[in-house]
């Protein structure tokens, strides 16, 4: 790797992504961005640049450009005249020397456009990925589990602002006696600012409702395994073009606030599912508890989770080079798990504003008020900051575990059942057995010894 030498060939000064228009052949039309204001032609008129407000964004934008949706703040212009919405960017936050960043001055001037020629230009790669994801859209499967009456549907409504249960009929007590745990799937397509999300909510009515609740989580584990198996088959099949990913990415488990921590059915459910799906425990209906009670309950639940060895979803560590307020936010997030949430599908008037909340004679509970409950934290975590990580952990950890387990079962079944006619030529598995490993180790040692001898001989020759 030619690392250091190569890096030194790139100058530090940042560029502007503009090409002088006189070097285009007459037929190529250079597109202009459709939103105001157009980027300035000369350096002297360049406006001061400020850091883009969005945390993940590493670009600067002209200060006068204003806020607006994130995709409108930045863009590039291609040689073929393709329009990328926004203004031509001129600076990347990461390219600014650290001493300047630490200073209080946060606005920077644009620099001459020629310097762009010294760059190769693959810094647009994240934008290329971005464009493809916008076209493709995302999908997310969320499972909600808990006893009935804990506010699951209301919370889902508040989170995604959609009413999936308009025509729901609540069962009476007699009907519930003979009911078993069902699995219901609701799918909805949400589009916001050009980004599409296909959201699937898996509901589990009837969980924990019966008199005898032993193994009431079995239909749920079967469902999760079934989705894994279907994905496994699709992935190992021949035509992989349109694989539907129905694997459950996250499970919100509702803990009743009326108890003293986890109940046996909670523990049983979580232990059955913690190796298959990301579990996020929530304290439901938190408006029936005062803050000190919430604190105590959270501590209690955290202790019991540790005691029973339940692996709930862990938030990933943030990098050491993130700024302080982000690290502070991250710490607060981790400390407030499990989240105490309140949901509401009604809008009430509070202090002259219309807010989502619950109206009581003694006051109004605002769902989106951080002092009242952790709903905002949950929503930010689930959608705005950790959705992709939840999907990754499902793919990389839970699904891979299932797959490895599945394959081992299959291959052991095949080798045991010798009478079964298998259409596949059975070859030895790629993992080597103990004998071969020993041989390999011996050969490695020999090689190493020979290399050492060679080195010694070389040194002797050099000394002479």
């Amino acid at each position: 790797m030619l690392g250091p030498a190569l890096r030194s060939s790139f100058p530090v000064a940042p560029p502007a992504a503009q090409f002088p228009s006189d070097c285009f052949p007459a037929t190529v039309r250079v597109g202009r961005s459709c939103s105001p204001p157009a980027p300035p032609a000369s350096v002297r008129e360049a406006p001061p640049l400020v850091r883009c407000g969005s945390r993940a964004c590493l670009w600067l934008r002209p200060r006068a450009a204003g806020a607006g949706p994130h995709w409108q703040r930045h863009g590039t212009r291609g040689l073929w005249g393709q329009q990328h919405r926004g203004w031509a960017t001129s600076l990347l936050w990461a390219s600014i020397p650290a001493s300047v960043k630490r200073g209080r001055e946060r606005s920077f001037r644009a620099v001459p456009p020629d310097i762009d020629k010294q760059y190769v230009g693959f810094a647009t790669l994240p934008n290329q990925v971005h464009r493809k994801s916008v076209k493709k859209g995302f999908d997310f499967t969320l499972m909600v589990a808990g006893e009935s009456g804990l506010g699951k549907s209301t919370l889902v409504h508040s989170l995604f602002l959609t009413d999936l249960y308009k025509d729901r009929k609540l069962l009476s007590a007699e009907e519930r006696i003979s009911q078993t745990v069902e699995i219901l799937k609701h799918t909805v397509d949400i589009e916001e600012k050009g980004v599409k999300l296909k959201l699937t909510i898996v509901d589990t009515p009837g969980f924990g409702d019966a008199v005898n609740n032993s193994e009431c989580w079995k239909p749920i584990t079967d469902y999760v395994d079934q989705q894994f198996e279907q994905y496994f088959r699709d992935e190992s099949g021949l035509n992989r073009k349109n694989i539907q990913d129905n694997r459950v990415h996250c499970c919100l488990y509702f803990i009743s606030p009326f108890g003293h921590g986890l109940r046996p059915v909670d523990v049983g459910f979580m232990k059955a599912l913690h190796e298959k799906v990301n579990i996020v425990p929530l304290i439901a209906k938190a408006d029936c508890l005062v803050p000190s009670e919430i604190r105590k309950l959270k501590e209690r639940i955290r202790e019991e989770i540790d005691k029973f060895g339940i692996h709930v979803y862990q938030f990933p560590e943030c990098d050491s080079d993130e700024d302080e307020d982000f690290k502070q936010q991250d710490r607060e997030l981790k400390e407030s798990a499990p989240f105490a949430v309140i949901g509401s599908n009604t809008v009430v008037e509070a202090k002259g504003q219309r807010v989502r909340g619950r109206l009581y004679p003694w006051g109004i509970v605002e769902v989106e008020n951080q002092a009242h409950c952790d709903f905002v934290k949950l929503r930010n975590m689930l959608i705005r900051t950790h959705m992709h990580d939840l999907k990754d952990v499902t793919c990389d950890v839970h699904y891979e575990n299932y797959r490895a387990h599945c394959i081992q079962q299959m291959t052991s079944k095949l080798t045991q059942d010798s009478r079964m006619e298998s259409p596949i030529p059975i070859l030895p598995l790629p993992t080597p057995d103990a004998e071969t490993e020993k041989l390999i180790r011996m050969k490695d040692e020999e090689l190493r010894r020979m290399q050492e001898m060679l080195q010694k001989m070389k040194q002797q020759m050099q000394d002479q």
Binding site: M1, L2, A123, K132, D163, I190, A404, P430
Partner: protein, 360 residues
Amino acid sequence: MDPLRQSPSPCSSRPSSPKTPPCEMHGYVGIEDVLDQLKIKAMKMGFEFNIMVVGQSGLGKSTMVSTLFKSKVWKCTLPGLGMPIPQTLQLKSVTHVIEEKGVKLKLTVTDTPGFGDQINNDKCWDPILGYINEQYERYLQEEILITRQRHIPDTRVHCCVYFVPPTGHCLRPLDIELLQRLCRTVNVVPVIARADSLTLEEREAFRRRIQHNLRTHCIEVYPQKCFDEDINDRILNSKIRDRIPFAVVGSDQEYLVNGRCVLGRKTKWGIIEVENMAHCEFLLLRDLLIRSHLQDLKDITHNVHYENYRVCRLNESHVLPRGPCWVNLAPTPPGPPVAPGPSKVCRQAREDSDDDEDDY
């Protein structure tokens, strides 16, 4: 935390379920932040890009690569006059990690010295196809392991740049044979090498003739018509298709022109500026390969070429999963597997050639 797995999902556009009810939105959920999450992850993990340059010796392949990535990619320069031309085609690969504006790119360049240099050039494409298939095989083996890595190292060739010598006439039989075979397994971008020996009119005529040759022989070069996803892509890509093959000039020496320092070739009658659109089309090539279509190249390699290879191999191992059985691949065959040639691609090309009007 462990590096996260890069999962280019193979599913393309998903048909939305007809039963999903339209929903009323009151307020802002914040879905577009998911894009930021993706970007952060991509930046952390870095990108990989593997490019192969194919062409006869002396056409400026190594120089072109150095110009594209603005650095000396090869440690040693071309062999001197004393050294013999290698008897067989040997592929040389070199890997660098380059970083620009916080984005890391692991670049692998594979060169093919000795291609087409022999007297009898029969079967000179076998080592190239063998190498490409070997990379697919490696990826496939990693993918079917029981305990797979989070991020399978991607050594598959994403793009092959083919250098056409600037004869000014048309494609030679060797070019046609190679391109026919290569286009089925990898994305190929043909370029007219050393275009400083052709005037602008000669370049245009040569370009039209090459395009005609490609159409006649059903050779689909990148960007392939059948993979255009929507109307914007089609418009953009047809502009690119109109200019392929690009006439390029490479250089790694700088000269002072009008007070600016430019890369170029200095001759007695003037300086050929590499990055001047009026002189050559190097900027278009660089824009295509790096600035706008790099991700697309990787996606097509993963979703189309690799899948074709995989289907071939699974069919050879006589495996069609009927119920729960695990795939054990048959040992790799010695030659390249016969791909179920994208006949659909061919048919479409022929239809298009009927539609396309004759340019001259």
